[in-house]
Each structure stands twice: as C-alpha cells, then as structure tokens.
C-alpha cells in the first residue's frame, strides 16, 4: 500500500525511483554493455591498423582477396560484401520497425518484423560462413620464402593472376599424405599441398609466361611484378607451397592479415549469431504474449539496441577490412 512508504518522496533525489537519464535500468545496462563492447571492437580494429601501418607497403589489397560471389565465376571485387552490408542494414530496419510497432502495442506487426530480422541475420551469418570457407580454401596458391614472405604468380601476357594448377608440372614423385591410420607412430604432420614445391618451381622454369608478384606495393597501388630474370632468381628463396589460409600462413600475403580477418570477422560473426539466438528468444516471447501481458515491449527495444550495435560494428569492419 502506498501509505506504508514513509521514507523518500518524489522530490527527494536519493529516495529511489528516480530516472535521471530518462531510461530504465535494463536499457542503461544494455548501453553499458554496448559501450564496453564498442571499446573491445575498437581495440581489435586499432590493432589491425597498427599491424597494417607497420607493413603498409606489403599489406594485401582487399579487392584482390575478396573477389568471389556465390554461384558466379569471375572477378567481382566487393559486390558480395556490399550485399551482406545491405542485408544487415535491412534487418536493422525491420528491427526498428518492430520496436516502433512495440511502442504502439501491435503484437502481430512485432512478430512479423522480428521474424524478418531473424531471417536477415541468418542470411548474414550464412554469407559470412561462405566467405570464410572461400578464404580458407584459397584460389590461386602461392609460394612462401625463407623470410615468410608470399610470392604470387601472374601471366606475363595479360597480367592476370595465375593459379598453381595453371602451370605446375606433374612430376612423378613419391608424395604420401601422412595420416593417422597409416601408423601408430603418427603424431602430426602437415597436410600436403596439391603440388609440391618442386613441381611449382619446375613449372615456373619451363613456362616463360610465368612471373612472380611480390608483396611490395608500388606507387600506383599495385603489387610489384618481377621480370623473368628476377623471377628465376627469387624462385630460389621459396621454401613452401601455400594454398588458402590458416592461422599460421596464407596465400594472400602478410600472415597477420588472415589472423585479423579470422579474429575480427569471427568475433563479429559470433555477435551476429548470438544476436539471432537472442532475437529468437524474444520472438517466441512476443508470440506467447509475454510482453502483451507486461504492458510494454521494452525487451524488444533492448535486443533491438544490441542488434543495431552489431550492424554499427559491421559498418566499421566493412570499411577497414574491405574498403580502405
């Protein structure tokens, strides 16, 4: 009963029940979390910038790495990532519309907009999985030198990139993939690449059309292509065949590039994934009428904040990973 409350009146600042920022406890805590999460992401992106400025002349060029679109062959730099960005912004819009419908207590509208948001998020996570798969699988293949630098190949006529399969010789060497089933002494061994170092080296030697492209970026913003003589000389430094990417080495260039790619887009992808899960929970709560009975849809607003934040982070990841 109201009359039992004797301490603390409306005018008393310390009496409780005050909302100096005009936001509820839950919403403020969501903002607390988002600000700290924003700082985490900023830390990652700043570290990326650090590594990139450190190797500013040899960093891989994103347009040449992310050129694939599902179901299409060819060179389409960035179109797919732009599509992913649009999907995420679009799902952000349906989320705001859900929040807006929530304010007006229109349950069916909230349900439909939440549903569309979840679909958008799922498409995005799927696209990211596909990006990762393409990135890990690689395309052209490369050689690694003693110093850990990556040598790629281009055609002397057209200047297009050459894949190892385009020129590598097939030598009849004894190449056996060391697998666990082959012996009890097995501990671990590197998986064999599709071509051995010898086969690639012989292929370059017998094919005058093949030139090496180093990591170094020239004044025009392109990677430096060596002459035929330089190519043959540089070939002696090669120690490994690299195909695709993992956390140790990648065919695109600087090792840190793949590490940051996995780490930052992975961390973001994990956020999107958990966002989809949380959206699902709220979605079912809306269907069950939990918020209808509660009289307000503030929970939808709170997960909405999280969802927009994920979109906001992606805008920055998109710029710093794919554009700049």
């Amino acid at each position: 009963m109201d009359s039992t409350v004797t301490t603390g009146t409306e005018e008393n600042v310390w009496g409780g029940g005050n909302q100096p920022l005009g936001a509820s406890y839950g919403k403020l805590m969501m903002w607390f979390f988002l600000v700290s999460d924003a700082l985490t992401f900023s830390g990652f992106l700043a570290a990326y910038g650090f590594s990139r400025f450190k190797f500013i002349e040899t960093w891989p060029i994103a347009d040449e790495v992310f050129t694939h679109v599902p179901f299409f062959h060819g060179n389409y730099p960035m179109y797919y990532v732009a599509f992913m960005t649009f999907i995420l912004i679009m799902s952000s819009v349906t989320m705001v519309l859900a929040v807006d419908a929530g304010h007006k207590l229109q349950k069916t509208k909230v349900i439909w907009y939440m549903f569309l948001t979840i679909i958008g998020g799922a498409i995005f996570v799927g696209s990211q999985a596909w990006e990762w798969a393409t990135f890990i699988k690689g395309d052209f293949g490369a050689l690694e030198t003693k110093g850990g630098r990556v040598l790629q190949f281009v055609s002397a006529d057209s200047g297009d990139r050459l894949a190892l399969r385009d020129f590598a010789e097939t030598l009849h060497e004894d190449r056996v993939d060391h697998e666990k089933k082959n012996g009890i002494w097995y501990y671990k061994g590197d998986a064999l690449p599709s071509y051995s170092l010898n086969e690639v080296v012989e292929g370059v030697k017998s094919n005058p059309n093949v030139l090496i492209r180093t990591e170094l970026i020239n004044e025009d913003g392109h990677k430096t292509v060596l002459t035929r003589d330089e190519t043959l000389k540089k070939l002696k430094d090669a120690t490994l065949v690299v195909e695709g990417a993992n956390l140790v080495r990648n065919e695109y260039g600087s090792r840190l590039f793949a590490d940051f790619f996995f780490f930052i887009t992975g961390f973001h992808g994990f956020h999107v994934f958990s966002g989809v899960v949380i959206n699902c929970i709220i979605f079912f709560n809306v269907i069950l009428g939990t918020y209808e009975r509660r009289g307000h849809y503030e929970m939808v607003e709170k997960v909405g904040l999280y969802w927009h934040f994920v979109d906001l982070v992606w805008v920055f990841v998109f710029t710093f990973f794919y554009l700049v």
């Binding site: 700043a46 002349e57 819009v93 519309l97 927009h308 998109f318 710029t319």
Partner: protein, 127 residues
C-alpha cells in the same frame, strides 16, 4: 521510454510525418552512402588515390568520413539516441570517442615508427 520521436534529420532540412517514414528515409540514405562507397572502391579514381592528406590517401579519408556518417545515423535514428536525454547521449558517445581517438593516435604513430625501423634499419625481414 521515450515515446515522442524527433522526426527531423539533416538538422531539420528533412522532416518526416511519422517514425516509420523516418526509418525508411534513413534506410534510403544509408543505402545511398554504401553504394557511393562501393562505387568509389571499385572505380578508385586516380585523383583520389594519388593525393594524400595527413599521410593517408584522400580516398581512404572519404571512406572513413562516410563510415562515421553512417554510424551517426545508425546510432541516432536506429538506436534512437536522438530521442534520448542529452546527458545519456553524451555519456554514451563521448566516452568511447575520447578513448578510441587516443588509442588510434598512439598505435598508429607507434606503427609508423616501427615501419621506419624496418625500412631504414639494418634488420632484414623481406627476403
């Protein structure tokens, strides 16, 4: 909860009739900005990639500024910071901006220093 919405964007240049309309308006704007970004990224005009400002390509400055513009509209209209009290807005926005600006400043300066050590020093790493 802030129930009344401020329906103006671009400092009152554009005024919408309802919140829903404003959302679609902001979406259109964000899409346009993204299209411009991707267009520039694919075209890479010579005039922008060969001119520098503060040691960075003008094109990259354009990307970063457009990103901040997008971030502003996502935070202000989608996360409805526009409708919140200014004290809450400032606490949320300025805290990370100060910290991140400082972090970027020290890290990039340090990285540039290391770059010079690598290029001018006597350690061979590119072999």
């Amino acid at each position: 909860m802030a129930h009344e919405h401020k329906l103006e964007i671009f400092r009152g240049l554009l005024k919408f009739k309802s919140n829903t309309q404003k959302i679609w308006g902001v979406l259109t704007f964000l899409t346009l900005v993204t299209i411009v970004e991707v267009g520039l990224g694919i075209a890479k005009p010579e005039s922008l990639t060969h001119s520098y400002f503060l040691g960075m390509k003008v094109l990259n400055w354009i990307f970063i500024i457009l990103t901040l513009v997008k971030a502003y509209y996502i935070a202000w209209d989608f996360m409805h910071l526009r409708d919140e009290k200014s004290s809450l807005r400032r606490a949320i926005v300025w805290t990370p901006i100060f910290l991140v600006a400082y972090l970027i400043f020290i890290l990039l300066f340090e990285a540039d220093y290391i770059y010079h050590v690598y290029t001018d020093g006597f350690v061979k790493w590119n072999f």
